[in-house]
Amino acid sequence: MGAAATRHAAVLQGAGFIVSLLLLWELASALGWLRPHSFPPPSRIAQGAWELAVRGFPEGVRVWTHTLVTLRRIFSGFALAMLAAIPLGLLIGRSPTLDALTNPVITFARSVATLSLLPLVIVWFGTGELSKTLLIAYGCFWVMLSNVIAGVKYVDPVLVRAARTMDTPGREIFTHIVLPAALPRIFAGARTALGVGFMVIVGAEMIGTIEGLGALIMEARTFYRTDVTIVGMMLLGVMGVLFALGMEALERRLLPWHRGLSEVRR
């Protein structure tokens, strides 16, 4: 109960801070310190948001469509990356040989900015949905893969030794010790990967579509609608926050022991 009260106070404080920033912004615009065209005041942005919700931008494509389409793309890419990275990461993390073999490739692939692949992906897979999904999957995949590998590789050896002294067979050491010990790191990887998905989506939606928040932002740029650009940005940000919170809640539910651990260590 005490913790909940503290949480509420923190939320109120955060909200209050944001509201005062918005007021300051509106004031700065009204007093002519900010040019309304480059820095639209909150009231102008609210109008843009209303327009997006009622008429759509471009006309007919409303904000809900943009949001849902973006979410669908992020999720399909993210899910694809998880499906590939988790088994592969577990495999590589267990085998020092495979790890040594793949490490340079993974470092290399991670260093290539996902969006720099855009031209190639268009040549290979066209400008349709597949290209967008694959771009997001690419970005998520390498982050996830290196986290899964690290999770398995850096399991505290004393846990494995303890299990061995209890005569635990190798297969069970993997399923009962290594896997649960690696879960926090795997979760951290999934969280980071989802964040990458939110970053890549804007670029991925720059081509071949008028639907999606990325497309909305690009389209708004063409028409100098800075207010609409900001609405799109904000929606992405809000979604990012919501998903981060959702992942946190999921982690608390699935790994209750880990929360206790981090609180003690703090």
């Binding site: 004393v158 846990l159 030794r161 303890a162 061995r164 002294t165 209890m166 005569d167 635990t168 009962h176 010790i177 649960p180 010990a181 879960l183 790994l255 209750p256 022991w257 880990h258 206790g260 651990l261 609180e263 003690v264 260590r265």
Partner: protein, 248 residues
């Protein structure tokens, strides 16, 4: 050898060398025998090879030469007959205290119900009856080591191997834990090999104190005092001086 019956643990000319042959050996021709239900302390400075010897007895590390026998059989790997308690917290953080003890009980071949019963019994024995649902991260260092002892006992081993189990605890908790261990040991007789770098701890606990230095056994002392031992007992203090001088 003071024990008349066949020894429980025999260490026979064990040597251990890590890395290439040019490196100095960690253990050199160590011979040691522990009687059934005896409490043996391996005492020495850091790096004297006492933990390596314990790991070899545990079957976690193979010796370079020589062998270890338990009940006359050569040790080839870890086994259920030998429970081990480590210096650092080696509890599985994702299992509750009870879950950790149950894990050990399950490994000894019990079914889920039986393991649950054993876990409750052992948590009770180490004084943590009300803490079974806690995760290790929510327990103090002393409590964690109590759970670790319960988990090792859950295997129902004949031998308990302890690698500086109280080394990371504060002095006061450490003294409590020594008394606690003796109480547990008096109700569940086991052959104990206990590694420590504290002369006082060895004197408080051991039937015999094996002093190690430079990879071999420097001296073996029979303590021969009734437990619980007073730390101000003149006989104990005399032995303390003898051991201390022998280490220089």
């Amino acid at each position: 050898m003071s024990a008349s019956a066949a020894p429980k643990i025999e260490v026979l000319r064990v040597s251990k060398q890590f890395g290439d042959a040019a490196a100095a050996p960690v253990l050199r021709d160590v011979d040691l025998a522990c009687a059934e239900n005896e409490f043996v302390c391996l005492l020495g400075r850091s790096g004297c090879g006492k933990t390596t010897l314990l790991n070899i007895i545990a079957g976690l590390v193979p010796p370079t030469a020589g062998e270890v026998r338990v009940d006359g059989e050569v040790v080839t790997g870890p086994g259920r007959g030998k429970g081990m308690v480590f210096q650092q917290n080696a509890l599985f953080p994702w299992l509750s205290a009870r879950g950790n003890v149950e894990f050990g009980a399950r490994r000894s071949g019990l079914d889920k119900a039986g393991a649950g019963r054993v876990a409750d019994e052992l948590l009770d024995l180490v004084g943590l009856r009300d803490y079974g649902a806690r995760y290790p991260g929510e327990l103090s260092g002393g409590m964690q080591q109590r759970v670790a002892i319960a988990r090792a006992l859950a295997l129902d081993p004949q031998i308990l191997l302890m690698d500086e189990p109280f080394g990371a605890l504060d002095e006061i908790t450490r003294l409590d834990m020594q008394a606690e261990l003796l109480r547990v040991w008096s109700s569940r007789r086991k052959t104990v090999v206990f590694v420590t770098h504290s002369i006082m701890e060895a004197l408080a606990l051991g039937d015999r104190i094996v002093v190690m230095g430079g990879g071999s056994i420097a001296a073996i002392h029979d303590v021969g005092l009734e437990r619980p031992r007073s730390r101000s007992d003149p006989a104990l203090l005399r032995l303390h001086d003898t051991i201390w001088q022998g280490l220089h």
